[in-house]
């Protein structure tokens, strides 16, 4: 059984290619975790929902998901993108089910109830933490049931907390935690780069004990992926492949060693 994560950039440029590639290997048992940040941003714009940012007392600026934005986020992720992938698989004869982490429930997250920010006047204030969550538990009952009955499972990066709040969770983190929880043979991360790059060369293989050294030499997004990959392998995933989602048949390419294998 393999978990595939595909980001919003890749979906925007190659949705059909991804769907085709996943569909061809559906009999292996595939859980596809999708992102879609670009599409959320675009939709927010169309609906006049302004992106909000907050500044922490340490000066760190970050995106803030308020009540309006989580609504758009859920619609775009669990509605638009998720169902487009499902119907694409279906048109290729692959039976699939699209869920979010709230269904089952499958992904339970914790939200920051309150956060401290520095406001426009330069004064510290405590505000509601918004609707971003950190996954604290994966329940595999629903996914196991669907996979063992031959369905390809497509998951939107939405989680739920104990109070029933829908939360925005990072799709990478969802893929890592999910692949650990279901003890996937492989986790394939399809990105818009060909793998882990150092001096413009793709590193073919990284052992978990080399990750700490490696993360100093790669960019910010990639170092988080590497740390999470090492973590997932410690939790029982056999290997993580970071590879391009923009090539012909991205899964064949990834499984044939095109990209970086972390093991």
């Amino acid at each position: 059984m393999i978990v595939v994560k595909v980001g919003g950039e890749v979906l925007a440029r190659n949705l059909d290619g991804i769907v085709e590639s996943v569909g061809r290997r559906a009999d292996r048992g595939i859980v596809l975790v999708h992102g879609g940040g670009i599409i959320v941003t675009e939709l927010c714009k169309r609906m006049g929902v302004e992106p909000k940012f907050v500044t922490s007392p340490e000066g760190l600026r970050s995106r803030y998901t308020d009540r309006d934005e989580i609504e758009v986020y859920v619609m775009a992720m669990a509605g638009k993108i998720n169902k487009r992938i499902v119907s694409g698989l279906l048109s290729r004869g692959v039976k699939s089910v699209g869920i979010s982490g709230a269904d089952g429930p499958t992904a339970i997250a914790e939200r920051k109830e309150r956060i401290v920010i520095v406001d426009e006047r330069g004064r510290k204030r405590v505000i509601d933490g918004g609707y971003t969550g950190r996954i604290v538990e994966i329940r595999t009952e629903l996914i196991d049931l669907l996979l063992s009955n031959g369905f390809t499972v497509v998951i939107a990066p939405v989680a739920v907390d104990g109070k029933g709040n829908l939360l925005n969770v990072d799709a990478d983190q969802m893929a890592f935690k999910l692949s650990s929880a279901v003890r996937a043979d492989k986790l394939v991360m399809l990105t818009d780069v060909p793998g882990v790059l150092i001096n413009n060369r793709v590193i073919e293989r990284i052992r978990t004990n080399e990750v700490n050294e490696m993360i100093k030499r790669v960019g910010f997004g990639m170092n988080r992926k590497l740390m999470s990959a090492a973590n997932a392998i410690e939790q029982g995933v056999k290997e993580v492949i970071i590879s391009s989602g923009l090539v012909e048949d991205p899964l064949a390419h990834a499984l044939a060693g095109g990209g970086t294998i972390i093991s």
Binding site: V116, R123, V126, D170
Partner: protein
């Protein structure tokens, strides 16, 4: 405006344009959260913030 500190009892200077949730570090070392109910103002030591978020 001056309000009594709930920890040390000394006066705390509160700006006139204060907003709900605003934080004031008092000289006794406590961080106070401003609670507003209509025009009345209360100060309460800040609680319920998880520092260790990790992501």
């Amino acid at each position: 405006m001056r309000v009594k500190c709930p920890i040390c009892g000394e006066p705390v200077e509160v700006p006139d344009d204060v907003l709900p949730g605003e934080l004031i570090d008092h000289e006794c070392g406590v961080t106070l959260e401003v609670l507003m109910d209509g025009n009345s103002i209360r100060l309460k030591p800040l609680e319920g913030i998880k520092e260790d978020w990790g992501e």
